[in-house]
């Protein structure tokens, strides 16, 4: 299955870039720096339209999940320090799974014969092969349908065009909304791990 190959998020930082997403604060905090000349504080982020079917839904979901985190999101890309863009790799509402009803005798990959109740098959054709199924008669089966959403997302420095971070994830869920929500959640978690909000300034230090 395609989503299985994309199970891990990947992130990459462009060395020498200072990242700091500020929730309305005027102070920036470096996360990675190599040279003062390349320091780029990030004050505003813009989410560009994602290419591919379902792209607008996923972009909307990412924005929805980013807002409570205190990120400053601009609707105008020209006002942003960084741009979040992406493309959809999957947006399928109908992944079919075959349910073999009843007690089935199933042959495993190793050739072992095992009795299973109501087994599920991914229909890829090479994992399991129910020999007999169903309530006294062969051939009793029903189809379960799920949805898969997958995307590749990049965070780019608007001025230099450098890619600061990239993530890829796909997920199967009951419906497209649930899958989009999970994909946005995981991508955002990966993105957040390289961003730090400014630490609280102690009162004594600020006076």
């Amino acid at each position: 299955m395609r989503s299985g190959k994309r199970s891990a998020t990947r992130s990459a930082t462009c060395g020498g870039i200072l990242l700091s997403i500020l929730g309305g604060c005027a102070v920036s905090k470096p996360v990675t720096t190599a040279s003062p000349a390349t320091v780029l504080p990030i004050h505003r982020l813009a989410v560009l339209p994602f290419s591919g079917t379902g792209g607008s839904a996923l972009a909307h979901e990412l924005i929805r999940q980013m807002l409570p985190l205190g990120l400053t999101i601009s609707e105008n890309p020209k006002e942003a320090d960084v741009l979040l863009s992406g493309s959809m790799t999957d947006y399928k509402p109908n992944n079919k799974r075959m349910i073999f009803l009843g007690q089935s005798t199933t042959v495993s990959v190793s050739g072992q014969t095992i009795a299973v109740s109501n087994p599920v098959a991914s229909l890829s054709g090479n994992q399991t092969a129910p020999v007999d199924a169903g309530f006294g008669l062969n051939g009793s089966r029903v189809v379960w349908v799920s949805a898969t959403v997958g995307a590749v997302v990049r965070l780019t420095d608007r001025r230099s065009g450098n890619v600061l971070w990239a993530g890829e994830y796909a997920y199967e869920s009951l419906d497209l909304d649930s899958a989009s929500k999970a994909v946005a959640e995981v991508l955002l978690h990966s993105l957040q791990s390289m961003l730090q909000t400014p630490p609280a300034v102690p009162l004594a230090a600020s006076s």
Partner: protein
Amino acid sequence: MSSSAHADLVSEAKRHYHTGLAYERLGRFEEAYTELQLASNLYPESAPIAVAVGTVAGRMGRIDESQRALEHSLALDANSCASYYELAMIYEKKEMVDRALESWHRFLALSLDEQLKVEARKHITRLETHA
């Protein structure tokens, strides 16, 4: 109930069951659901019928009905592989994280389909990390 009367009920349930599955294959889910419910009412001790009801209800978007039928199927057969798979997705949708995790773990233990086992592990990782 006499054994012959019970046999008649089971026979009638089987008829509705197979009619329901035939409708399901044609994509006529309303009729399929009605037939399968009739089968379930006549023979509520059948786990496969309960799984069929839950699966068709799920395809119709009747998530609560699907959940009830699938949980009933597990009360009848605690090793029903499909019930754990479908319930895991329903629990995730409803953000019932603990139940979803338990269902994925049970599915992982029962399933022989390597592709679906990979998928189950991925769900477990996400639920343990992000949910």
